[in-house]
């Protein structure tokens, strides 16, 4: 029996956002946007979904006079991401 893949993470853009946040302390919205190549609107929606799931925290502030949105992965997000990757590896190893 294969483990069920987390539907929150099983989306291309949300998975890319989580992959970026898994390797850093936190990341700026503009950095994530540049790395993923997503539009601001779509990225905002996906970030909201990850935040609502408790996988990331979103902090709004300022850098000088510029508004700044900082995203950070939560321990629950790290756990979900790790479980998701393990599940993917199990799918792949079963297919060999």
């Amino acid at each position: 029996m294969f483990p069920k893949l987390d539907p929150i993470l099983h989306s291309e853009l949300r998975l890319a956002v989580m992959s970026i946040l898994a390797g850093v302390e936190d990341a700026d919205f503009t950095y994530i946007k540049k790395q993923t190549g997503a539009t601001s609107g779509n990225l905002s929606v996906q970030i909201d979904k990850l935040s609502a799931a408790g996988y990331i925290t979103v902090e709004k502030g300022f850098k000088g006079k510029m508004p700044r949105t900082t995203c950070r992965m939560t321990p629950a997000g790290r756990e979900a991401f790790s479980t998701y990757v393990t599940a993917l590896q199990e799918y792949l190893s079963a297919g060999k």
């Binding site: 099983h10 992959s19 970026i20 503009t30 950095y31 792949l92």
Partner: protein
């Protein structure tokens, strides 16, 4: 997405992000290296020309100029995140800076010592640690050569000629920055 596509996406995104962060770090190596090279040459020629060692006080301007220029580099709309490697690199060089400035102040104002010897050894150590963190052996080995060779040279060379060791150290940092940039572009 299939399982293999998902894993490929994760690997590619993480790798691209890591490259972007380390490529940005390269700018700081080049900045501090160029500053060290220019300042050491400036002090060398001023000392050589006037015969006064007091020009060495200009070293205390280096952290101020360096941090102002670093802030200019980082003053972009997009804030670069930190990963474990960039954090360790930053900490290593911050510790080097703290020890260098503090010991230089003690050497100038309280207890005279061969400060070139001490700083060259620490420069070599910080460079070697950077090479190990980056898993880049040419950087690590050049750090070892800089630290050990520089220590011997700092004892053998006298007065303003010692400053040329910092010129070499500065050039080494610039080269390190270029190597990191090429490695992670």
């Amino acid at each position: 997405m299939t399982a293999s596509e998902s894993l490929a996406l994760i690997a590619e995104t993480m790798n691209n992000s890591r490259r972007a962060i380390l490529s940005h770090n390269a700018k700081h190596f080049v900045l501090w290296g160029a500053l060290l090279t220019v300042l050491s040459l400036l002090i060398y020629f001023l000392w050589h020309g006037t015969g006064s060692a007091n020009w060495n006080l200009l070293w205390f301007a280096m952290p101020v100029i360096g941090y102002c220029l670093a802030a200019l580099i980082d003053r972009k709309k997009e804030v670069q995140p930190k990963n474990e490697i960039s954090r360790l690199l930053g900490l290593s060089w911050a510790v080097f800076g703290l020890f260098s400035v503090t010991l230089s102040a003690i050497a100038v104002f309280a207890v005279p010592m061969n400060i070139t010897l001490i700083i060259v050894i620490m420069l070599g150590l910080a460079e070697t640690i950077s090479g190990v963190i980056l898993k880049n052996w040419p950087i690590a080995i050049s750090g070892i050569i800089m630290g050990i060779g520089g220590a011997v040279a700092a004892v053998l060379l006298k007065s303003e000629a010692q400053l040329l060791l910092f010129t070499l150290g500065g050039l080494l940092l610039v080269i390190t920055g270029i190597i990191v940039k090429l490695q992670y572009r």
